[in-house]
C-alpha cells in the first residue's frame, strides 16, 4: 500500500497545474507529500487503536476514553508552544520535522509497550505532542513558500493531499489486519516505516526557511505577539465566533443515522463520504479564494454548514440516499471552503517571523470554541431534544455569520500587502 502512495510524489495533482508561472510551489507539493505519507501512517494507527486496546489488550473503553480526552486537551497547549518555537529564529522545518519524527517513533513505542497501559499512554502522548507541534510550523512553511496571491490554492493542494492520506490509512490498516489475521504489531511496524518515510521526505525536499524569516524586523517574541495586528484580531474573533456555532461532525452523523435508520454497517462510511467531498473540493475552493478573496469562501463555507442543519431539520421522507448525499457533500464544502482558506486569509496579516505562532493561536482558538459549541449542542439536545437543539444551532450560526460578515475586512481584492520573495 505504501509503495503505491510514495509513487504519487512525482505526479502533482492534475488540477494543481495552471498556466505558466501559476504552478503550485515545489515546497508546497513536498509538504503535501509529507502530509499524505504521514497521514497514511497516523490514520492507520488511529483506525485500529480502539480495536487493539479493547479486543487485543482487554483495556476498558473507560480507560481508553480517559487517555484520549486527556491528550486532546494537552494538544492545544503544545500547538501554541510549537508555533512559538518555530518562529524563534525561523526554525519551522526543524520544529515540524521534530513533530513528524516524534509521531513516527510513537508507533515503535506502541509496538514495544506490549500490553502495558502506562507505556501505551506514553506512546499516545508522544504522538499527540508530535501532532501538536508540527501543525503550525508546517502551515507557516506553506505560507512562507507560496506567493501571497496563490495561498488559497497552495492550501487547497496541501489539504487535498493530506486528506488523501487520511482516506488511504484506514484502508491500509484493515487490509493489513486482514492478511495477517489481526497482527496489530504488523500495523504498527508498517505505520512506523511509513512515518519515517514522511520525515525523510521532509528532510530531503522541504527547504529550510531561515533566509525568508531573518529579514523580518518585527519578529514576534511572545506567543501572543500576533494579537498586535488588528486585522488578525478580527479574523481570530470571526473564526472563534463561527466555531462556537459548529455542532461537530459526530452529531451530524448521529442525526443522519437516527433520522434515517441507516444500516449500522454503513455508519463508518459516513465520515469517509464527507472526506471524499473535501478531497475533491479543496483545490477548487482554494483557487476560488485566490480569485475572489478569502473572506467570501470562508463565510459561504459556513452557509453550507447552515445548509447541513437545514437538511437535517427536514422531515425524513423518501430514499435515505437523497438526504445523506447532500449532507455529506455540504459538509465537504464546509471543510474545503474554511479549513485551508482560513489559514490563507490569516497568513498575510502576520509578520514572516510570527507566522507559526499566529496560525497556532488561530487554530487553537477555533478548536476551543468548536469544542464549546459541540458541548453546548450536546447539552441543548439533552434538554430540548434534537430538533429544537438544531433550530437553536441554526439560529446561532446565522447570528455568527452576521458577526463574521461584519468582522472580516471587506476588501475583495486578494491581499496585496506583502510578498515573501
Amino acid at each position: 500500500m505504501y509503495l503505491a502512495t510514495t509513487g504519487r510524489r512525482d505526479a502533482p495533482p492534475p488540477s494543481a497545474t495552471g498556466g505558466p508561472g501559476r504552478r503550485v510551489p515545489a515546497t508546497v507539493l513536498a509538504l503535501g507529500t509529507v502530509s499524505l505519507v504521514t497521514d497514511v501512517s497516523s490514520e492507520m494507527v488511529t483506525a485500529v487503536l480502539p480495536l487493539y486496546l479493547v479486543v487485543g489488550l482487554g483495556l476498558s473503553p473507560l480507560q481508553f476514553g480517559f487517555l484520549d480526552g486527556l491528550f486532546n486537551g494537552a494538544a492545544a497547549v503544545v500547538r501554541l508552544l510549537g508555533g512559538h518555537a518555530a518562529d524563534r529564529g525561523g526554525r519551522h522545518k526543524r520544529v515540524a520535522g521534530l513533530g513528524y519524527a516524534l509521531s513516527a517513533c510513537s508507533r515503535l513505542g506502541l509496538l514495544l509497550a506490549g500490553g502495558a497501559t502506562g507505556q501505551i499512554a506514553a506512546a499516545l502522548a508522544v504522538d499527540r505532542v508530535g501532532k501538536g507541534i508540527r501543525t503550525a510550523p508546517r502551515d507557516a512553511l506553506i505560507t512562507l513558500s507560496s506567493p501571497p496571491h496563490l495561498l488559497g490554492r497552495s492550501f487547497g493542494v496541501h489539504r487535498a493531499m493530506d486528506t488523501t492520506g487520511a482516506l488511504l490509512g484506514p484502508l491500509a490498516a484493515f487490509a493489513l489486519l486482514w492478511v495477517t489475521a489481526d497482527a496489530y504489531d504488523a500495523v504498527f511496524v508498517v505505520s512506523f516505516c511509513t512515518g519515517l518515510l514522511g520525515v525523510l521526505l521532509l528532510v530531503l525536499y522541504v527547504p529550510p526557511q531561515e533566509a525568508a524569516a531573518k529579514p523580518s524586523t518585527r519578529r514576534a517574541n511572545n506567543p501572543f505577539g500576533a494579537l498586535r495586528s488588528a486585522a488578525f484580531r478580527r479574523i481570530l474573533c470571526a473564526a472563534a465566533l463561527l466555531g462556537a456555532a459548529t455542532v461537530g461532525d459526530s452529531f451530524v452523523y448521529l442525526l443522519l443515522q437516527r433520522g434515517l435508520a441507516i444500516p449500522v454497517g454503513w455508519f463508518p462510511l459516513l465520515p469517509l463520504g464527507s472526506a471524499a467531498a473535501y478531497l475533491l473540493l479543496a483545490i477548487p475552493a482554494g483557487r476560488l479564494a485566490d480569485r475572489v478573496g478569502r473572506r467570501l469562501p470562508f463565510l459561504y463555507g459556513h452557509v453550507a454548514l447552515l445548509g447541513v442543519y437545514g437538511l437535517l431539520l427536514v422531515p425524513a421522507e423518501g430514499p435515505a440516499l437523497a438526504l445523506v448525499l447532500p449532507v455529506l457533500i455540504l459538509l465537504g464544502v464546509f471543510y474545503a471552503a474554511t479549513d485551508g482558506v482560513l489559514m490563507a486569509l490569516a497568513a498575510p496579516t502576520l509578520p514572516d517571523g510570527g507566522r507559526a505562532g499566529g496560525l497556532a493561536l488561530l487554530q487553537t482558538g477555533q478548536a476551543l470554541t468548536r469544542l464549546l459549541g459541540t458541548a453546548g449542542f450536546g447539552a441543548a439536545w439533552t434538554v430540548w431534544g434534537p430538533s429544537r437543539a438544531l433550530w437553536v444551532a441554526a439560529a446561532a450560526l446565522i447570528v455568527s455569520l452576521a458577526g463574521g460578515w461584519a468582522l472580516l475586512p471587506g476588501s475583495s481584492a486578494p491581499d496585496p500587502e506583502r510578498s515573501t520573495a
Partner: protein, 326 residues
C-alpha cells in the same frame, strides 16, 4: 546535497523500509493459523465449564472441580461466548476491509442456527436459562469519530418468534419516577429472568450508570438504583451479581458486588481486584468472572462465593467468557 544524491538516498531508504515492512508482515501471516469453526467433535453436551481459551481464541471445555489445565479445546473461535438451555451465542469478528463482526447463534452441537451482523467490538453476551432469549452488546466505534469515544449497542433476539431488536436504545425508560429522554442513553449487559420476559440491564446517561429492570411484554424499562453495571441474575432469580464503581482511579474502578432483590441490600464479594466483566453464576452459591491474567496471559477466570465469604480461587488459566453447563 545534489538532486541525484537526494534521489539515491530516498530510493535506498524506501527499499529498506518497504523490505522491512514486507518482511514483518510476511512473518506475521505465518504466525497465527486462522480457524473459525469448531472441529466438529467439540459440542456442549458434557457438563462442566466452557470458556474462551485466550491462547487460541477458541471455546474450550474443562470439567468443573477438576484441577486446572485438564481442558479440551477445539470449539469455535469467539471473542465472547455464553450458552444456556440448548442455545449458545458466539460473538466473533472476521477480518476484512472493513472488518465485520457477527453474533452467531449455535445449537448444543455448535451448529450455526442464525447469524446477525453487529456494528462494533463484541463486549457482552447472554442467553436466558431456557435458551429462548438472547442478548449481546457491542462497542460501536463509528458514533463519534472526533473523540474516538465508545458507545454501546445492545440487541435482543427472541429465538421462538425470530424477532430481533437490533438496538434497545428506544425502549421507554423511567428514571427517578419520570419518563426519561436523552441522546446519550446507552444500554449494556442484559440478563434474563427464568420467565423469558423480565430482564435486567445497565443504562448509562450523563456520566451515571443505573441498574434497570425491563419487561419484554410491555417493552418498558425502569431504573432501580444507581451505580450497578453488568448485572447477572442468579439461577434462582433472587440476587444480582454486578460490578460497582468504587474508585475514580481509571486503573481499578470496579468491584464485584451482589444485590439481594428482595431487600435491595448489597454486599461486596471477597474478590478485591477490579473486575470489568459480566459475572456468570456457576450455581446459586458461586460466581465466575475474568480478570487480567498473570504471567503474560490475556485473562484468567476466577470464582468466588456469592455471599461475600471465602476467597477467590483460580478456575482456569488463560480463560474468559466462563459459563457453567449442567
Amino acid at each position: 546535497m545534489n538532486p541525484r544524491t537526494q534521489l539515491a538516498v530516498l530510493v535506498t531508504t524506501i527499499l529498506l523500509l518497504a523490505g522491512g515492512s514486507l518482511g514483518y508482515v510476511l512473518h506475521s501471516t505465518h504466525r497465527k493459523p486462522q480457524l473459525a469453526a469448531g472441529d466438529g467433535s467439540f459440542t456442549l453436551e458434557g457438563p462442566g465449564l466452557y470458556f474462551r481459551d485466550t491462547a487460541t481464541g477458541r471455546i474450550a471445555h474443562q470439567p468443573l472441580g477438576t484441577p486446572r489445565g485438564a481442558r479440551a479445546g477445539g470449539g469455535p473461535a469467539c471473542e465472547r461466548f455464553y450458552a444456556a438451555g440448548d442455545t449458545a451465542v458466539c460473538l466473533r469478528r472476521e477480518p476484512g476491509v472493513p472488518p465485520r463482526a457477527y453474533a452467531i447463534v449455535l445449537d448444543r452441537h455448535l451448529r450455526e442456527v442464525r447469524r446477525v451482523a453487529v456494528p462494533g467490538i463484541p463486549n457482552r453476551a447472554r442467553v436466558s436459562a431456557s435458551g429462548r432469549m438472547l442478548s449481546w452488546t457491542v462497542f460501536a466505534v463509528g458514533d463519534s469519530y472526533a473523540t474516538s469515544a465508545f458507545s454501546t449497542r445492545t440487541a435482543i433476539l427472541d429465538l421462538r418468534s425470530g424477532y430481533l431488536i437490533k438496538s434497545m436504545e428506544e425502549i421507554p425508560l423511567t428514571l427517578a419516577g419520570a419518563r426519561y429522554h436523552a441522546p446519550d442513553v446507552n444500554y449494556w449487559g442484559v440478563t434474563f429472568a427464568r420467565d423469558d420476559n423480565l430482564f435486567y440491564a445497565t443504562v448509562s446517561t450523563k456520566g451515571h450508570t443505573y441498574l434497570v429492570r425491563g419487561n419484554m411484554a410491555d417493552w418498558s424499562a425502569t431504573a432501580l438504583r444507581e451505580n450497578a453495571e453488568c448485572p447477572s441474575l442468579s439461577p434462582d432469580n433472587t440476587r444480582i451479581a454486578f460490578k460497582k464503581k468504587v474508585s475514580d482511579d481509571t486503573a481499578a474502578p470496579w468491584r464485584l458486588y451482589v444485590l439481594d432483590l428482595a431487600t435491595m441490600r448489597e454486599h461486596p464479594l471477597a474478590e478485591r481486584g477490579s473486575v470489568d466483566d459480566q459475572a456468570a453464576w456457576l450455581d446459586d452459591r458461586t460466581v465466575a468472572y475474568a480478570l487480567p491474567g498473570r504471567a503474560g496471559r490475556a485473562s484468567d477466570t476466577w470464582a468466588v462465593p456469592a455471599d461475600g465469604s471465602g476467597a477467590p480461587r483460580l478456575l482456569a488459566e488463560g480463560a474468559s467468557s466462563p459459563v457453567s453447563l449442567g
